[in-house]
Symmetry: C3
Subunit: 348 residues, 3 copies
């Protein structure tokens, strides 16, 4: 909407998830990145592939087609494209079908940790690996995955996911309560070149019903909220051997539409399979309340024609996330070693 947001949304030289692996079966899936419609499909040999969702012949969506061996076949005239976008069949045509200008546009694609990731630039060679989610596959940890479409900018979505003060209001009874006694705690904010982290010091235990699983006997829990470039919002709780880490990887569908690919990872005193249905339902309810609120926010921004935010000290990560998104990733890892650190007080 604003030119500033268009800029924020345009870090193309990164990996973004475009589908959950377990949802990508025989039927191709429609996806989107930076406003470009994509088709994600899996060849019969199991490889995932990502093309622009438009047949170069007569411009119909390839996602309406079907997979045939190594190719995706268009529903209209039966043209077939392989995972590089090369045209491999044009039914009816006598002679060789391959011609450069008949290619579908392809995106580099890898499958990692249960998600299909696409490189944000078409026909470009990736210059790094996708973000690696922590704890996946580690001993004692269980992971569940979800996805959610949100009508909001990537920045607003990330800020919301990592914002503490709203939980007592928007999520009311579900999470924190606005009526309980409040007390002041310290928050340490650490800014790195590629991430920002808020550590909540002295919370007696995580708020609400989650606490009952993680710390049934109380105790001081370690709580971090993090934003990591290019687009990961992460909430982590730890207590002794127990831990809960929710990572939402955000994909910029359009300027004001963001898709969350979420991994819930946890190690708890009770078996993971016992906790998972409950934890997942509970967390998704919070995510959906947030999605509803963000859609109302976006509507209001559209009605007024602009964003017009006021910031306070307790909008802890919002400005930092904005700054990180604006700068983008600094590729030299040596510069990641000197974080800046500050401490502030907040009532919870």
């Amino acid at each position: 909407m604003t030119s500033e947001h268009r800029f924020l949304a345009h870090r193309h030289d990164e990996w973004y998830p475009v589908a959950r692996s377990d949802r990508l079966r025989e039927r191709p899936l429609a996806a989107m990145l930076f406003g470009t419609p994509l088709v994600v499909f899996r060849t019969r040999t199991g490889a995932a592939a990502v093309l622009v969702d438009r047949c170069p012949h007569r411009n119909v969506p390839l996602s309406l087609g079907r997979v045939r061996g190594d190719t995706l076949q268009c529903i209209y005239h039966g043209w077939e494209f392989d995972q590089d976008g090369q045209c491999r069949a044009i039914p009816g045509l006598v002679g060789d079908v391959r011609a450069r200008e008949r290619r579908a546009t392809a995106f580099a694609c890898v499958e990692q940790q249960g998600f299909v990731w696409a490189w944000g630039e078409a026909e470009a060679a990736p210059t790094r690996e996708p973000f690696r989610l922590p704890y996946l596959g580690e001993r004692g940890w269980t992971t569940a995955r979800e996805e959610l479409d949100v009508q909001a900018s990537l920045h607003a979505t990330a800020e919301n996911a990592l914002d503490v003060p709203h939980t007592a209001f928007l999520h009311g009874g579900l999470f924190r309560s606005q009526d309980r006694a409040r007390r002041e705690i310290d928050v340490i904010v650490r800014r790195f070149e590629d991430r920002v982290e808020a550590e909540y010091v002295g919370e007696s235990r995580p708020p609400g019903i989650v606490a009952k699983f993680l710390a049934p006997r109380g105790g001081n829990v370690i709580h971090f909220d993090r934003f990591l470039l290019p687009s990961v919002a992460q909430v982590e709780y730890r207590l002794g051997d127990s831990g809960l880490c929710i990572s939402a990887v955000l994909s910029p569908l359009e300027d004001y539409r963001t898709k969350l690919f979420i991994a819930f990872s946890y190690r708890l005193p009770v078996p993971g399979w016992l906790v998972q249905p409950f934890l997942r339902t509970f967390a998704m309810r919070i995510f959906r309340q947030d999605a509803w609120m963000l859609a109302r926010q976006t509507e209001t921004i559209e009605r007024f024609g602009e964003e017009n935010y006021k910031f306070t000290e307790i909008d802890i990560l919002g400005a930092e996330i904005y700054d990180l998104l604006r700068r983008g990733r600094i590729p030299e890892p040596s510069r990641l070693t000197a974080p800046s650190e500050r401490t502030l007080r907040i009532t919870v």
Copy 2:
């Protein structure tokens, strides 16, 4: 749509109704004026207040929030604003919450004659009183109130409300009949600085079923149609001690969206409580047929990209209303004393 209409819709330095008093209870109401979304709320002490419907913090609608004592609390982070827009609470924040830039934008607001009125300019001091509807509270008079959203410009809505020739067609059987014998009558048009009035001379009695209540034994009824600045369309019938006066105060929601706040006032030979359900139902049916017609008119204007009207002598008030809206109110009352007057003939 046209630049002319944008101009007509922009008499901001006036009062406009934004809610019916009896509808404003504990829950805040969403409203609109000149394209700006508003929230109307009532504090626990009973005062009505009008703010821009956007929290200055993260731009979500304040109308989704709830009233707490003297303040309206945002649903997202619990920020609270008083009736002047002053920020009075920011949950989680340590220290003083008041800061000029955290204010919500406020509109001057009064409650009068059963409606909540807002001054059309934000953060401005009103320079006069709202329009006073006649007959309200007078001895023997009963008043009912309604509201209606119309997809049309304020000018088209006012013209329609005061137009006689369409009643025989659009309202057909309900009102006037196009098949009955027609005869010519005189219409005296009186133009004042701030209003225009058409008096229908020699109508045997008001048309249709309304007549049966007002003048059961026939007789010559006095009939006026009036438009009064800033935005009142008024139809009045009088016969001896009996009278019926319908005033529709028009609020410009957007260029092509107008809200009618309607007061039906009458003194009849039969008790008001007996007549009211019938009269109200009958009148609202006419208003809704008009709203339907005006929406079709607006659609057509949008399809063709412009208004393109032909005028005749019997479009009695349309051109006068346009001229009044274009000039706006002349603040010196001394200039209101010399109306111009003309007489024309119309077949009814």
Copy 3:
């Protein structure tokens, strides 16, 4: 959408169908041509008439009105217009109602071969006759008529209707099969000044289930696909005395919206009344599948902001149709005598 298409859509000096004769009874019908809303009505004497669907008085759709004798009466104020657009009644007005500026805008209109045709320029005198559909009324021939709205440009709709390669895929089991043995045949393409024709030489019989009616004992069928200016897509099969000719006359409603007025004409060994319900159902199912595909194509063009087509040799008529539409009709019939002819091979 693209300026090229706007150009293509603007051959106004031609006849286009706007209604089926059997659908035009007492109630006026809303129609559209070149983005202009039209009303089609039939006077009590049986003449069809076409006006712009906007009352010149207050800009409401005349198609909401009703026919009274020789005039169409507006629903709002009862103004009446004759088939030339002349205003014939203004209820309430004392004196003569006729005034040039009160006219509704009229289009020349003829009824021919079961369709109501309008000349594409308002208030203009036609310079020729409408296209004459072949076989209608000839001995032994039966004709059925249909209409269908398609969300696509006239060019895309015509190309699709005459495209052979897609039938094996989009219409799959219904029509041609992509799995049967394929063989090469010759296609002769003949380009005239006002039309283009593709003749398929050596098809054993027409594809799919249609063949069972037309050529129950097999045999070599003659098959033509034709596009004829201004906007006729025609498919013809002949075998001895039997024949099937489907003509779709395309009306440009908007740049990306086209209406098909279809005549199915056939002479078969079995009685027409026996075949018709089946043939019509079968053909309309194909047309509806095409309409669905074209709507997906238009959506994709809109999402990407442009058409971006690749052509091959077997897109036999698409480029020719484009060229014919771009040039438009050459009025001198003497120049129609020298077609160019080329032959190409295609696998079917």
